[in-house]
């Protein structure tokens, strides 16, 4: 079920009313209810793949208990149990997401040496959200193994933690230490939290439907005919995609956080105005924070982080970004994209000390530089394959203004999209300055001001939004 679908618009209010009015006395029953609706939410996409979530979360529940019950002396058994969890989770992920990629790459490698194999790829459907819930479930067994937390004995709570519908298919990837305890107590309705949740949902829908889906039309058409889009169109498409990706994904996170909030849950912040970052390390503290911190905590730091010498630090950084690229998709393009970003971090932050430019005009330059580099790296992320990505770099330029309106957006809509992006960036600049106070101030304004904003947001989505049967409105990160 997509957040921007009619199904969800019906589903959410029904679940909300049942949650607060029917299942409001007993925490166990309420969690069972949340579990069922989360499975229904996922089942709207494909019921068959619910079995994967159930198997992986049930196994992790028991493995974590077994790890916890095994004495420290018996390190072999503890390790075995952890490896069992890793094999199970990464096994599912590996098969459904990477089988064809690895086998294909293996065969291509042999072909380079003149050894040919007959191979036709398996027709494997990639289960929606598998990368997200696998990492979430995995972090639990890892945390129990590393004794960062005690395992829960309540299986329903754990199953609900893994499948909690607001963040099931595209995050934020929550840590058990933060989210799991929230299933332990009966929540009391908090008006202010629910109100801010609704505002977040609306704002998320605004970003997705008004901006991301509109510029997606232009991006899809230019990337669909790279040679025709030669020049300025391609340049705009490259920059647009950076905004599309951000607004699409951050919109999903906003809606997820907002939806969780109306049920009394607090999810982690996933984006913190990344395009105002002044260095690459600063960028990764603002972009897809739940994944970045996951890689930091479970890969980078266990590998030694930056504590064991400069050379090893570089290797660790490259390793993390390589894996991050691979996490995004089973294609060399994603691997290249990830690795390039690792190199950016090493070269520009560590060698050229970009991270020191936090202030004044230097910061503006640094932010623009980070954004431009990131946008160019995303060519690999967006292009269908490596040769298309190279074609984009070959054809990008400042000519071909006459063709600018041949790619799905006419002059009015293209300008409108640009104004909207400008508006969002202006808002982010203000939010960067005032932080949480901005929202507090907003709630203190007169009702007419607040209500006007609510109406502007919702009515502009309805009347000016980019939606309809001709548009593909799914979220980009659903494919991961």
């Amino acid at each position: 079920m997509l957040f921007n679908s009619f199904d969800f618009a019906v589903f959410l209010p029904i679940v909300f009313l049942l949650y607060w009015f029917v299942f409001n006395r007993n925490i166990k029953i309420r969690n069972i209810f949340l579990l069922i609706v989360s499975y229904v939410f996922y089942g709207f996409w494909d019921w068959r793949f619910l079995s994967l979530i159930i198997i992986s979360s049930v196994m992790d529940y028991f493995l974590a208990l077994a790890i916890s019950n095994t004495p420290d002396i018996n390190t072999r058994k503890r390790k075995f149990l952890l490896i069992a969890s890793l094999v199970l989770n990464l096994g599912f992920l590996g098969f459904f997401k990477y089988y064809n990629f690895f086998v294909g790459s293996f065969i291509d490698t042999f072909a380079l040496f003149g050894k040919e194999f007959n191979y036709s790829p398996l027709n494997i459907i990639l289960p929606v959200g598998i990368s997200f819930y696998t990492f979430q479930s995995l972090s639990y067994t890892l945390d129990v193994y590393f004794k960062k937390m005690n395992p829960t004995t309540k299986i329903i709570n754990f199953l609900t933690f893994v499948s909690f519908f607001p963040q099931l298919v595209a995050g934020p990837i929550e840590r058990a230490t933060k989210l799991l305890p929230q299933f332990d107590y009966l929540k009391v309705f908090d008006y202010h939290s629910a109100r801010s949740g609704l505002l977040l949902i609306t704002f998320g829908l605004f970003k997705k439907i008004m901006i991301a889906d509109r510029i997606a039309v232009f991006v899809n058409q230019t990337y669909g005919s790279i040679a025709d889009a030669k020049g300025i169109s391609l340049l705009i498409a490259v920059l647009f995609f950076a905004f599309q990706l951000y607004l699409d994904f951050s919109a999903y996170s906003d809606i997820a956080i907002g939806a969780a909030r109306i049920f009394g849950f607090k999810l982690s912040t996933n984006f913190r105005r990344p395009y105002l970052a002044y260095s690459f390390s600063n960028f990764w503290k603002r972009w897809h924070i739940s994944l970045s911190s996951w890689f930091q905590d479970y890969i980078y730091i266990p590998l030694g982080g930056n504590r064991i010498g400069a050379r090893r630090t570089i290797i660790n950084v490259i390793m993390v970004f390589f894996l991050s690229g691979l996490w995004h998709g089973a294609s060399w393009n994603f691997v290249i994209w990830g690795t390039i970003n690792g190199l950016f971090l090493i070269v520009f932050d560590r060698i050229f000390r970009l991270e020191k430019s936090n202030g004044g005009s230097k910061r503006i330059f640094a932010s623009l530089f980070v954004f431009a580099s990131w946008s160019l790296s995303l060519v690999f992320f967006r292009a269908e394959n490596f040769s298309d990505a190279i074609l984009v770099f070959q054809n990008i330029g400042f000519s071909g203004f006459d063709k600018l309106y041949n790619f799905g957006l006419n002059a009015v809509e293209l300008k409108f999209a640009m104004y909207l992006i400008g508006g969002i960036m202006a808002y982010e600049l203000i939010a960067e300055k005032y932080g949480e106070k901005l929202l507090e101030q907003f709630y203190k304004t007169k009702p007419i001001v607040r209500w006007s904003l609510y109406f502007v947001l919702v009515l502009s989505i309805i009347y000016l939004g980019s939606y309809g049967s001709a548009n593909d409105n799914s979220f980009i990160y659903f494919q991961f």
């Binding site: 679908s5 009619f6 199904d7 019906v10 607060w20 309705f189 008006y191 202010h192 629910a194 109100r195 609704l198 006419n410 009015v412 809509e413 409108f416 209500w451 609510y454 109406f455 919702v458 009515l459 309805i462 009347y463 000016l464 939004g465 980019s466 309809g468 049967s469 001709a470």
Partner: protein, 493 residues
Amino acid sequence: MANTNIKQHKTTAVKQATTQVPVKQKTIYNLLAKVAFFSCVVIGILFYTDAKGYFNPDYTNDHTRRKWNAYYEFTKKHPVDVVMVGNSHLYTGINPENLSTALGANCFILASPGTTQTDAYFCLKEAIAVCKPKMAIVETFAINDYDSHQLKAGTLSDQFKSFSARKNIIQKLTSTPLLFTSDNYLPAWSNTIRNHSFIFNDTEQIKKNIALIKHKKPEKQGLYLGRYARFNSGIEDTTLIKYDRPGFVAYDYNKHPASEEARKYLQKTIELCRENNVELVFLTLPMYYRHVHNYNSFKEDLANELKSHNKNWLDLQQPYDTAAFSPECFENTVAENQHMTYYGSLVAAYKLAHFVRANFAGKLPDRSNDIKWKQLFYASDGYFQNHSVEKDGVNKILLKNAIAKDNLEIKEVDFIKQQGGNLLLVKIGNQNGKTFLGGKLKIAVEAVVGGNTMIVPVEVMLTHAYMPINHMLFTSQPLMPGVEITSVKDISF
């Protein structure tokens, strides 16, 4: 000093605490009330723009809507005897005026372009609810591989149009989830939601809609039975050559096997007609015989589906009447979807009329002597070809009930005045199977040409286009302007 200040501060705080009214905690009911109010306002605004029609599509080209409007208007005054449902093949392939005049009945086409069998079923259901016909005719081209929930943009747009044109709210509500995926429920019901992008890409249409609101004129509706004569010229020789290309296949029935949904709604259509005691006829309109491949597989499949209804199936594709369905009958295209021309729609209409008369004798009323029916159809397309001319001061009967040479039974010879050239119509008895060599008759008529009276020979032809049930019809080519025929002098083969 400092102590005094603290004391003062404390005292003020205590005073404030005692005088302040405790703030009432806002509850879930507050939120629900606000959300409900907010939703009502938004829905109200949406409803307003829908009602005003700011985002209406260009209805001047929406013949589906025109059909439904006409159907509702027509049924207020007249009964409908035959309702036909299907897709564009039907409304271009059957001329309803000629069918009506041939049968002496009221026949209405409620077909919409690109429709599915599911949509056809719901159209028929609503049509029956408005005015129960004696007979329903279902064209079979909509029994294809379409699945309502997987329609592509173009076909989906047609389905939206068809749905939007219907008026029965309850039936529309119940059919919504069957015709559309959930994401299309709102676009199906609201023109604003469906066409909101006009703001960016069709502001002219919005301006037109606003102008229309200001100067709304009542819709004038003459006799309109749902036809749409879209193509007037047949397949040209240059197009026919394309069929000779090796391996060329224009329409392959094997690529469009009936979907499960189409089968299901075919059965539901049969059930619907049975429940309502409506005679059901299936009609397959032809495409040019060289256009179609693997028709047999479709025919066998459909025959299995229809079972006992097979006898009610008029299949004009196979056996194919090569003489009647000449290239002139078909749209000049080798693209997959080939429609019939106006001429073809006449041929098919008369074949259908003969089929209905032969197989359903007495099931349809013959209204041809009913004064109201005559008023409705008089001078409409096909009326004079099927019925007698009245004393209308314009058209004339030149000869009536006479026996010509070789015992040729002349029922009537008419001089018909019409736009595009006056006509001479010769109606003769069916002649018990007598054949007319060359399908021609020669007539000598007295005519006034430029003020001079003279005897003029006129050739009239038996055509495939008009095949009335009760007589054979010979028609002249359109006559020269200004020629007034006053009497018939001689008729011969």
